[in-house]
Symmetry: C2
Subunit: 329 residues, 2 copies
DNA sequence: CTGAAAGCGCTTACAG
DNA sequence: CTGAAAGCGCTTACAG
């Protein structure tokens, strides 16, 4: 296998020192003839400097991106969007997947802090006191995505407001008894804020009898919680913390011969394309995940450049009306 | 903001030189008392060495992973699986998303080659002559995922065989006229091999009248190609290169009042969970993407250790029988 | 077991 | 405009 080509090799071939080649890449002054020559050689060898060897550079032009998983639709949207913005700005994304483990998440943050990244985008599973302690000593700017972060800068979704909007919408259908299929409170944004919004929205419309459940984010969990809800007697409406959970609800309701929305209304959060495939189409609420990623990355780079940024930004959401909520009652 | 802590800082605090701290981390000989002391200090400061500063190390313990997109279900499964294996082995994944651009993919490969990674996992959009040229000069081992790679090592799916199995299955339903909704030939595995398998499988069962289409991987494309197929007269069976395309077919057939499978059989590839939600459930074929990632990573690390590896490995697939193919004809 | 020194691939003042 | 030198955070022979 061939040896790796380095900046020194390029310099030799161009008959200059690596100082000059380095300046060529970093926008320092380089003579026209020299520039030509270097240009030719790097093209021939397809050379690009090793970003990670820039140990002495003031800026590394690398941003760390910590994500809870690479398997989630929402996260995929966020990192794709973050990646695009960073690329446009000449930055590279260093993606760290925590694979659903909070210890790995903390470790990932810890590592990035000591690596030469210019900043960190943290799409956290949940912000624990350990997170706060760790981030307090962070030598580079941090932007938290999709979770509130009192101690610093965040770009979030209005989980409470969205929940409330959905609660009201479903409340309009006047269910006698509703169920909320949620997730564990360790995820503050979804587990607590979103749920509270839904409950408040329902109450505003006079719906007070609400069963609440908490599971994980899986399709199976949606099925399981739906079954649990039905065991406790008749339910008119099921609001699910995510579309995937709603998919599970659809299946169980179908198995039991319960019609949507005539017998039971169903609603979700997420706006997954697949909701469109259901009969009836799922009523859901879609957060602008692309905006979340974009704004997060933009805010981080502003912080790197020491420009002022808002402490908190909230992205928009959009209600997608399917036919799964009974509006004729 | 606090300064970054470095190995030299740790060494100072422990009253030794950084040589010793480095040996501590890399398994060199360190006295018991010294070991204790260093242990304490790194715990207190949560220190971990900067992986990317290991410029002189023989091995970086980093593997590059190039993916066409972070938005695809299959890719998500593959990188999750790759990440898990690498982590178990004390390796780190450096993920490079090409965001559907072949130029970016080449650039990503190029960059990784010059960065200090021990090897590269390439989940390529397609292998072009440029890929071959570039990879020929690669200073580190490369494993190609999900595409044949004559010039080197690959872990693939049996796209042809899987296509043929599906072709035969649908052929058993004796459609008078079938349609295949595919993708561009630039993706060799899916665009050519899978399609050819389907066509051959159908032919084996006596189905020769097959309309073929090519689009992209989107839901919209599935709808569009289905509409095109129906314009050309009645069609009994639609085989789609991916489940997403099949979702599009479902929608259009539904809109036209055509029943699945009574009027038209539909089949896909992918085994997405969402196929289960459809009525009837989608008949689909699922490749073992987790095995693909796992084996790919395992093979790469073997190559790094200069152990022998097979030139080509093929992962298994599984037929998932839904109710979308009419078996009563 | 431990340290001094050289070096990895790059960047940055500082001279000239 | 260009180069020599020092340095980034780490690793590795080589002495002792």
């Amino acid at each position: 296998m061939p040896r790796k080509i380095t900046m020194a090799d390029i310099a030799d071939m161009a008959g200059v020192t690596k100082s000059t080649v380095s300046r060529f890449f970093n926008g320092g002054s380089v003579g026209d003839a020299t520039r030509q020559k270097i240009q030719e050689i790097i093209r021939e060898y397809n050379y690009e400097p090793n970003t990670f060897a820039r140990l002495k550079a003031r800026e590394s032009n690398v941003a760390g991106v910590v994500v809870p998983s690479l398997n989630s639709k929402i996260t995929s949207r966020v990192v794709t969007s973050v990646g695009r913005y960073l690329r446009e700005q000449g930055y590279e994304a260093l993606i760290k997947d925590s694979d659903h483990s909070i210890e790995r998440e903390l470790k990932n943050i810890q590592r990035l802090m000591l690596q030469n990244v210019d900043g960190i985008l943290l799409s956290s599973i949940t912000i624990t006191p350990e997170h706060v302690r760790l981030l307090k000593d962070c030598p580079v700017p941090v932007v938290v995505l999709a979770q509130d972060f009192e101690q610093g800068i965040s770009v979030t979704q209005d989980d409470y407001g969205a929940g409330r909007a959905m609660g009201r919408l479903v409340g309009e259908s006047h269910p006698r008894r509703a169920a909320y299929l949620g997730v564990d409170e360790s995820d503050r944004a979804v587990g607590i804020d979103r749920r509270q919004g839904v409950l408040d929205g329902l109450r505003e419309k006079g719906v007070a009898d609400v069963l609440t459940f908490a599971g994980d984010y899986s399709y199976q969990s949606g099925q399981h919680m739906t079954a649990l809800a039905l065991e406790q007697g008749p339910v008119d409406a099921i609001i699910c913390a995510t579309d995937r959970l709603a998919f599970g609800a659809y299946r169980v309701l179908d198995e039991r011969g319960l019609r949507i929305p005539e017998d039971v209304s169903v609603a979700g959060f997420g706006g997954y394309d697949e909701g469109e495939l259901l009969k009836p189409r799922l009523t859901t609420l879609k957060f602008d995940s692309y905006a979340l990623g974009y704004l997060g990355a933009e805010t981080l780079l502003k912080m790197v450049r020491e420009e002022p940024v808002p402490k908190k930004q909230i992205v928009d959401y959009q209600m997608i009306l399917g036919g799964s909520v009974n509006m004729n009652r």
